[in-house]
Structures are given as structure tokens and as C-alpha cells.
């Protein structure tokens, strides 16, 4: 409770400073709109029906891009984290591609996928997949040798040890990885909707930039921030439900 109050007071402070510098005219409305202007813009967008439509389409793009990346990253990451052979195979590829700038792939992605949602999925996939693989592999590597040996002495084979012990033991940290990378996925959204988009939060921000409509930009940024915060909280709550043993472990130690 005490910490919730502290959190709220932090937000209030930022709002207060924002209000102060804009309402007093210290900062011109071209550079930073007033809170009122942003709220009015939100009202207008809601009435036009584009506000929730943007949220939905952006959320949908991130979700599909992220799920696709996770679907492939999980098995490959686990393979890399548990087998030297697979590590040797994947590491150069993953290590090489992950340093390529996502933005630079926009022209290629349009060439490959046109302006469809596929192109947006691809950008988000590309942004998060390689990070996921590396991080999941690391998560698996931190599993204690002692629990692996328990599996071996109970007669489990290699595959069973990975499936029933390594993955289970690494699951809370893998979940943390997904949570972190999910946050990054939101930052790639704007990149994904930078060009060749006609809807979405990123598109709205880029379009507003052309007309210097700063209240639209700020509204978009705040919306993305808020959605990120909400989904992050959901990740946290789900972790508590899925890994009750892990929570207790933390409290006890």
C-alpha cells in the first residue's frame, strides 16, 4: 500500500510539471501540448471510432508477431541451451542476424510481404526473435546441474530430462524473458507501422508528425505506454498463478 502511494505520487509529479510548463506558456503548445489538448484529442478519436480501432489493430499485430517469434524461439532456445551441437549450429546465425538493424529491413520486408499485416508481423518477429533465442538459451543454462542429475539417476533419458526438468526449472526465468521482450515488441510497433500502414498507433503517430499535431503524438505515446504497463502487469499476475512455488521460494530466501 505504501509503495502504491509512492508510485502514484511519482505519476502525479510528472503530470504536475507537465501541466505547469504548458498552462503557464513556458513551453509553446507546438512543442508540448497541454493535458487538456491531449484529452480533447482522445475524445475526438474515440468519437471518430479510430481510438480503439488503432489499439486493437496494433495489439493484434504485436501479439501475432510476438507469438510467432515465441513459437520458434522457445524450442530453438532450449536446444541451444541444452546441447553443445545445436548451440554450435545456431549460434553463428543468431549472433550474426541479431545485430542487423530492424529498420533497415523495412524496404526488403515491403518487397517480400507488400503492405499487408504480414509485413508488420515480420518486423516485430525480426525485432524480438533473435533476442528471445539467446535469452531462452541462457535461461536454460542457469538450471542447476544437481536437478538434472536427479533426473538421470531416476532413469530419465536426455529428452525427458530436458522436457521434465530443464524446461520446468527454467520456466519462471523464461517467462521473465518473454515479459521483457514483450516490452521491446511495443517499441518495434512504431517501426513496423512506420511506412505502408493505414491504421494503428504507430501509424497515427507518424501521420501526426507530418501535420505537427503534437497532441496526437503525445496521445499515441501515452496510449502505448499505458498498454505496455497493463500487459506487463498481466504478465506479472500470470507468473504468480503459474509458478506459485517460485514466489514462495523468493519470499523464503
Amino acid at each position: 500500500m505504501r509503495f502504491k502511494l509512492i508510485s502514484v505520487s511519482g505519476i502525479i509529479l510528472v503530470l504536475a510539471v507537465w501541466s505547469f510548463v504548458t498552462y503557464t506558456g513556458m513551453v509553446g503548445s507546438l512543442f508540448l501540448p497541454t493535458p487538456t489538448a491531449v484529452i480533447l484529442e482522445a475524445k475526438k478519436q474515440v468519437e471518430d471510432g479510430i481510438f480503439f480501432q488503432d489499439i486493437w489493430i496494433s495489439f493484434y499485430r504485436i501479439l501475432i508477431g510476438f507469438l510467432l517469434a515465441t513459437l520458434f524461439a522457445l524450442p530453438i532456445g532450449v536446444m541451444m541451451g541444452t546441447s553443445k551441437t545445436w548451440k554450435a549450429f545456431w549460434e553463428p546465425i543468431v549472433g550474426f542476424v541479431r545485430y542487423m538493424p530492424v529498420v533497415a529491413f523495412i524496404p526488403m520486408s515491403i518487397l517480400w510481404f507488400g503492405t499487408s499485416d504480414m509485413q508488420k508481423f515480420f518486423i516485430i518477429f525480426f525485432g524480438v526473435f533473435f533476442q528471445q533465442v539467446i535469452m531462452v538459451a541462457d535461461n536454460c543454462k542457469t538450471v542447476k546441474k544437481s536437478v538434472v542429475e536427479v533426473g538421470l539417476t531416476l532413469g530419465l533419458n536426455r529428452f525427458e530430462v530436458i522436457k521434465d526438468i530443464v524446461v520446468k526449472a527454467a520456466m519462471p526465468s523464461i517467462w521473465d524473458t518473454l515479459r521483457t521482450v514483450w516490452g521491446w515488441a511495443w517499441t518495434y510497433l512504431v517501426v513496423a507501422e512506420l511506412v505502408a500502414a493505414t491504421s494503428g498507433l504507430g501509424f497515427r503517430i507518424m501521420q501526426a508528425q507530418r501535420y505537427l499535431s503534437t497532441e496526437t503524438i503525445i496521445l499515441g505515446i501515452l496510449t502505448i505506454g499505458l498498454l505496455g504497463l497493463i500487459t506487463d502487469t498481466i504478465f506479472g499476475l500470470l507468473a504468480k498463478v503459474m509458478f506459485p512455488w517460485h514466489e514462495k521460494e523468493k519470499i523464503n530466501n
Partner: protein, 262 residues
């Protein structure tokens, strides 16, 4: 005639790294009979865990032969139950699930049957009523009881225990020793027990191998003849103290030798 369950002949284990090679076990010969409780006793670093890991099949000897019932031991198997020193429970499973996990490979056993067995063995180690809690909610002694139940539930002919009570306080440790005496009488499996505690070794064992360090080797073998119906009070008896003296003298001799060689 070979009535031995386990036979180790001329076992060497040399760890080779880029810089050096290190002899952890030097020519180990020992046997464990059926229903026999055998202890490896020695100072830290004398290779007790290394030997136990060989028997568990988690490591292989550099040379020598290690046989159980006439078969070479080269990989882990369910004919040997292992209790590690600590941190060996699976933290995401409840107490009874940790025990039932050992039955994973029993394809013919129904889930309800596994649960029943798990409950039974938890009862055996004195954990009645604690079946539905996570390892993180247990004390060290309770965790070790679960680990013992898990090792026992597959009814292995040979139980391997590596300083299982090393991390426990003195009172819990005594309780666990008595528990082990009771269980051992009931299950009649053979035990290879690793410890550096002289009283513990004499109290529990039929035979103690006293080991020496650098290189790790067996310095002395002592057969213990104490009543099978022993309880803790036997630790004050004349024969117990005689055995203890014999072992302590041996350990002391080792220390002296180290001193001289310096």
C-alpha cells in the same frame, strides 16, 4: 561364489585438465553385500563423492571395474537410489509429487496408485500431513526426508547417500540417523553411505572404509558388529567407543603423515 551386490576392483579416477592431471581415486577396492550398510569415511577432498558418483553412473572411472550383480555400471539406473547432500528436490513439485516423480517411468502404474505410494513413503519418513507443500516451505531436514522417500519409493537394491545429513543441525541429524536405522531394518536394501562424521559412520554401518586423501584411497577397513536393534544409547557402549577410537587413530595417523611430508 559371489554374494556381493557391488564389487569395485582397482578403481582409479584421474581428472585431466589442460594444466594438470589429478588422481582423485587411487586403486579403490571394496564390496557391498546384500542388506549391508557400508560407509565411506574420510576428510573432505578424499574422493568420497567422486566414488559415489561412479556408482551412481554419473561419472566413469579412468580404469578398473565396477560391477553390480555382475553387470558393469556405466550409466545411471533405477536399481540405485541416490540421496544427494542438498538442493535436490524439484522446487516446482509438491512434496508428494517429488516422490511420485521417481515413479515416472512406471508405465503400468496408475496415477492414483503413484500418489498413494508417495503418501505412504512420506509417512514412512515421518512427513505425514506435509504432502501438499512445496520444497521452499520445508526446513532442510524435511527436504532431506522427502529426498530419502523419493530414493526409497523405487525400492532400489542399493541406496547411495552422499553426506545426506551434512547440512542439518545436530538434533535433526540424530533424528534422521534413527529414522535411517528404522527404515533400513524395514526395507533391507543395501546402503553406500558417505560421511565425514565418525559417530554417524560407526552407528549406522556394518562396515566402514576409512579413506585418506592425496591421492584419494582406502586406508583401512573396519567391520562393525553392533546389535541390529541398536538405538542411540549404544553410542555410549564399550564396543562403540572402541570402534570409534580405532577410526580416530587412523585419521590421526593420516594427519601426522601429511605433516611429515610437508
Amino acid at each position: 561364489m559371489n554374494e556381493h551386490l557391488l564389487t569395485a576392483t582397482n578403481i582409479n579416477r584421474i581428472f585431466v585438465s589442460k594444466q594438470r592431471s589429478f588422481t582423485a581415486l587411487d586403486n579403490i577396492n571394496l564390496t557391498i553385500g546384500n542388506h549391508e550398510f557400508v560407509s565411506l569415511l574420510g576428510p573432505s577432498g578424499c574422493g568420497k563423492s567422486t566414488f559415489l558418483r561412479l556408482v551412481a553412473g554419473l561419472d566413469s572411472a579412468s580404469s578398473g571395474s565396477l560391477q553390480m550383480n555382475g553387470n558393469n555400471l556405466d550409466k545411471p539406473g533405477r536399481d540405485r537410489g541416490v540421496v544427494f547432500q542438498q538442493y535436490s528436490l524439484l522446487p516446482w513439485l509438491l512434496a508428494w509429487q517429488n516422490v511420485a516423480f521417481a515413479l515416472k517411468k512406471e508405465k503400468n502404474m496408475r496415477a492414483a496408485e503413484k500418489k498413494e505410494l508417495a503418501y505412504h513413503f512420506l509417512d514412512l519418513v515421518g512427513l505425514n500431513g506435509f504432502e501438499e507443500i512445496y520444497p521452499s516451505q520445508m526446513s532442510g531436514g524435511m527436504q532431506q526426508r522427502v529426498a530419502i522417500a523419493r530414493a526409497l519409493v523405487i525400492k532400489p537394491p542399493l541406496l547411495l547417500m552422499d553426506e545426506p545429513f551434512g547440512a542439518l543441525d545436530a538434533q535433526t541429524r540424530r533424528d534422521m540417523q534413527d529414522l535411517l536405522v528404522t527404515i533400513f531394518k524395514e526395507t533391507r536394501s543395501s546402503v553406500l553411505f558417505v560421511t565425514h562424521d565418525v559417530d554417524e559412520a560407526v552407528y549406522l554401518s556394518d562396515r566402514v572404509y576409512v579413506m585418506a586423501t592425496n591421492p584419494g584411497r582406502i586406508a583401512k577397513q573396519i567391520d562393525i558388529h553392533l546389535s541390529a536393534d541398536k538405538d542411540w544409547s549404544i553410542q555410549l557402549s564399550e564396543p562403540f567407543i572402541t570402534y570409534k577410537k580405532e577410526i580416530l587413530m587412523e585419521l590421526k595417523k593420516q594427519k601426522k603423515n601429511v605433516h611429515h611430508s610437508k
